[in-house]
Symmetry: C2
Subunit: 309 residues, 2 copies
């Protein structure tokens, strides 16, 4: 058994995961990052004990822990270099938590561990080369090769949201570039485009459009909303095709909030992918929706712990 | 010691390579693919004996052989599925050559082995993640991670020549797509663009322009030729930037005939790369010219043999 932890800005997901990637127990606690990492470590110990008790499990069967953090990390030392959303800097999290739990602890970036979770026990299970992309407020990603995370030179591998798909005249991205995939295929882009159509009278003026889910809801009755999702999906497929000729993945997993739009996003993404990727690459690649949802992070964290053991 | 072989359409390079990637002896023989693979295997045995004799080396110290083939291969079985330039189909090359040489033989695609050679003992030596690109008639590539080739789902990893950098209105590529990197950054593209400028009176009408080397020569005296190389270099840098956010390489190695243009190509490529890649990715990536030239293939083939031993 393994302890998987996924630290978010507002809540922390904790789970006991077995050797096959199944969630044996899970619980969410508030992050309260302002109380500091040592406090969170103590609360995680209590959470783990509580979950083990509830299952009638001896906590001694848990052999290690993995932790996903929304941060830039020094993986070799297990240190959170900077976690902007948590306000943490230079936190030796692996060491702190290992002391509290009395077991080995490994840390990695949260998006990477979600990718590892999907590649291990989700939509990428059994595949050798898996590219996972998370389409939410931004477009993130992770790369898993032969069952292990590929971090690259400085942990940026799989950050396909910053492929510049619009070479000229693209919108400004948070990263400082223009025309990144994130500017045309994220929830942010979908909301922006839908609001523009609303302002142009193509969608009902009284509908609130705050997220991609609102656009997916409107798509049931409104062609203009369907077109917005189709355009985002086509951009996503185009970007994934470029990534696929570099990596030649067996499976591309599409997750994140926007992926809940399902076929409204996936069908145009698939069509654009097949049109845009080199033929042999396109034939070899399966595009799949993520399977583990919010649980991908804790499952991947548990897998990381297994791999380090 | 290892026997490295690089089969080309007209000649076959053969070399004895030591454990450090140094060429101890080398020789080229005509391919004469029409005489069949069994005939080539016998000639390779004679070549190896001749090289060993010339060095006063006992052929018994050679522990294995690696062979690069310009072909689509079944790597697990060591079979050349189809080598169009050689006219070979379904040739069990690894088995044939192993029988003749009396040592283990591994085969891989020639472009992949050139990448492995550069990553091991050339411009990528010591780096964890290396993307090698060969800019010649086309734009090919290979990916080496942790010292080993990353093939991907069907051996297409690193084929960055087929990233579609021109999304709308691009030229037709050999692959059937339009706007591939290969259509704007290859020797073919450089010659085409230079000839257009020549036809427009911007380059001397009596100069033959048959290859990128001709354009590099004209660039000494003619701004128009420099601009052609600059444009190709900028496209290359833009394409490499897209690949880099997927793979996050430590080093990108640029080889192939066009790379002989040196800084005329590399400087604009570096500039476009830095402008186009996500900042943290750009900061982590070194762009370097290939070091091993034509020898990369045999060195990589020897490395493959080492890795399989």
């Amino acid at each position: 058994m393994w302890f998987g932890v996924d630290i978010g800005g507002t809540s922390v997901k904790a789970a006991i995961v077995d050797d096959g990637g199944r969630l044996v127990a899970q619980q969410a606690i508030p992050t309260e990052a302002g109380r500091g990492p040592a406090d969170l470590c103590l609360r995680l110990r209590e959470t783990l004990r509580g979950m083990a008790d509830a299952c009638g499990m001896d906590p001694g069967v848990i052999r290690g822990a993995g932790v996903g953090v929304p941060a830039f990390l020094d993986l070799a030392r297990g240190v959170v270099v900077e976690a902007i959303n948590l306000g943490w800097r230079e936190v030796p999290l692996a060491e702190l938590l290992a002391d509290v739990l009395g077991m080995p602890v490994s840390v990695d970036n949260d998006a990477n561990l979600a990718a590892l979770g999907e590649a291990w026990a989700g939509a990428g299970a059994g595949a050798h080369t898996v590219l996972c992309t998370t389409v939410g407020t931004g477009v993130g990603g992770g790369v898993v090769i032969g069952g292990r995370l590929h971090h690259g030179a400085n942990g940026m591998a799989g950050e396909i949201g910053h492929m510049r798909v619009v070479r000229e005249g693209g919108l400004l991205c948070n990263c400082g570039q223009t025309g990144c995939l994130e500017t045309v295929a994220s929830a942010t882009a979908i909301v922006r485009e839908a609001r523009e159509r609303q302002a142009a009278g193509m969608l009902p003026p009284d509908e609130r459009i705050d997220g991609a889910a609102d656009v997916a809801r409107l798509a049931r009755d409104h062609e203009a909303a369907r077109r917005v999702l189709e355009t985002a999906g086509r951009w996503l497929g185009f970007g994934l095709a470029q990534a696929a000729v570099v990596l030649n993945p067996d499976v591309i997993v599409i997750g994140g909030g926007v992926s809940k739009a399902g076929d409204l996003l996936l069908e145009p993404a698939r069509a654009a992918f097949t049109e845009s990727a080199q033929r042999l690459v396109a034939e070899a690649t399966l595009l799949r929706l993520a399977k583990l949802g919010n649980g991908a992070g804790v499952v991947g964290a548990a897998r990381l712990a297994m791999q380090r053991a």
